[in-house]
């Protein structure tokens, strides 16, 4: 069990904000941390890693990483964590293998990690010569080198293209399972959260405003409708005895037939929710 109960006043772009998080995480959980930018997600990861101080307690199993009342702050290198940053943060003047051995002189583990992530042939290459996906694999391997109790990832895949993202998601999941680690990953990508996490936590202005299974958090429902999108009402066109509402959703325009009664509640420019029950949409390739 990992118990986090911390508090810190942050000076954000929109003034002062209290980051106040009270969270218990079961061992081996894969937690997705999501929410708008500036909500304190990255700061929370940095506090867990010991890179920033805060008030409160962090307990990981039977170890106390932080207890501000007792003036206990375990140094980052003494916490068994792995950290994967969005921008890789590798030593570019070192080889792939040396980046891993820098964390721990364990050649066997290093070659095992490079093997399962398909990097074995690149172990002598300088990291500056690698692609984005390869670099992020190296930083993932490096994060696993000290068999972390807690793996922290801050939008690790957001700089990669979709197909590379899917590949790395699979590798992250297999490493999470093989090392039986507990993982907290900041992510904004619903498909990523759904695929990887078993629990999602939504942070807003420093507070946890929602948590549950990824499906509970991500499925946008209104009433019994399971197929629901928010969009802007662009136009209402009368055709015969019906009306056609033209709505912009994401990068697309959709049309919805509405009746005389239904349009009474609508006005152009309004943000509306388009939804239907799960029984109606059809799927095609």
């Amino acid at each position: 069990m990992i118990n986090i109960n911390i508090q810190k006043t942050l000076h954000g772009s929109s003034g002062e904000m209290d980051l106040k998080v009270d969270l218990s995480i079961v061992q081996n959980d894969f937690v997705a941390l999501t929410g708008q930018s500036g909500s304190g997600k990255t700061t929370l990861l940095r506090i867990l890693a010991g890179l920033e101080e805060s008030r409160g307690v962090i307990e990981v199993g039977d170890e106390i990483w932080q207890d501000s009342n007792k003036r206990i702050y375990l140094a980052p290198q003494k916490r068994k964590i792995g950290f994967v940053f969005q921008d890789y943060a590798l030593f570019s003047n070192m080889s792939v293998e040396d980046n891993l051995l820098f964390v721990k002189k364990d050649r066997e583990l290093a070659s095992h990690l490079l093997e399962i992530t398909g990097l074995a042939l690149l172990k002598n290459r300088h990291t500056s010569t690698l692609s984005g996906g390869q670099k992020q694999r190296v930083s993932l391997c490096r994060a696993m080198m000290n068999s972390p109790k807690l793996l922290l990832m801050d939008e690790p895949l957001s700089a990669l293209d979709p197909s590379m993202r899917t590949k790395l998601q699979n590798e992250i999941l297999s490493l999470h399972k093989e090392f039986a680690t507990t993982t907290i990953m900041v992510s904004h990508d619903p498909s990523e959260i759904y695929r990887l996490a078993n629990r999602a936590v939504v942070l807003n202005l420093g507070q946890v405003i929602n948590e549950g299974t990824p499906k509970e958090i991500l499925l946008q429902t209104s009433g019994s409708a399971k197929f629901s999108f928010e969009g802007e009402l662009l136009d209402i066109i009368k055709v015969d005895v019906i009306h056609v509402a033209v709505i912009a959703i994401a990068q697309q325009i959709v049309e919805v037939v509405v009746s005389q009664e239904e349009i009474k509640r609508l006005s152009i420019g309004q943000i509306v929710r388009v939804s239907t029950k799960a029984f109606s949409p059809t799927i095609s390739e």
Binding site: I237, V239, D240, I242, V244, E255, V257, F279, S280, T282
Partner: protein, 134 residues
């Protein structure tokens, strides 16, 4: 997904609204649609489809119904779940379409494999799944 091969017989148009009539082995089907692709014209062969959850069934029917599409069919398969029933219905044309109804309705109507029923589909529930040829 249910599918029927049909030939476009007639296209009625009013502004962006269309009603398309199809010939499905002697049976006439109606489809309601907004904008229609220009290629959908008389003589075109298409595959029509509808969601099985939007296909209703009638038995020993009397009186008038507003359903534009009323097709004679035989139940060739009936699978009862806990709450729902899934039926395969063979039309006179030989095509098979599916219907998903509540098991309560299926039991109430005492539906059996081999029985003749009337398949009911509203014109707005039918869509063109595929254009086959001219």
């Amino acid at each position: 997904m249910s599918g029927l091969t049909a030939i476009v017989k007639d296209v009625q148009k009013h502004d962006s609204l269309h009603i398309v009539k199809f010939d499905c082995e002697g049976q006439v089907l109606s489809m309601m649609s907004l904008e229609l692709e220009k290629t959908i014209q008389k003589g075109l062969k298409v595959k029509l489809s509808m969601k099985p959850t939007h296909v209703a069934i009638a038995k020993n029917l009397q009186g008038e119904l507003s359903y534009s599409n009323q097709l004679q069919a035989t139940i060739v398969k009936l699978e009862n779940g806990v709450l729902l029933s899934s039926l395969s219905l063979k039309l006179d044309s030989g095509s098979v379409i599916e219907s998903i109804i509540t098991k309560e309705s299926s039991n109430r109507m005492n539906l059996q494999v081999g029985e003749q029923v009337l398949v009911l589909i509203k014109a707005n529930e039918i869509f063109i799944k595929e254009v086959l040829s001219c």
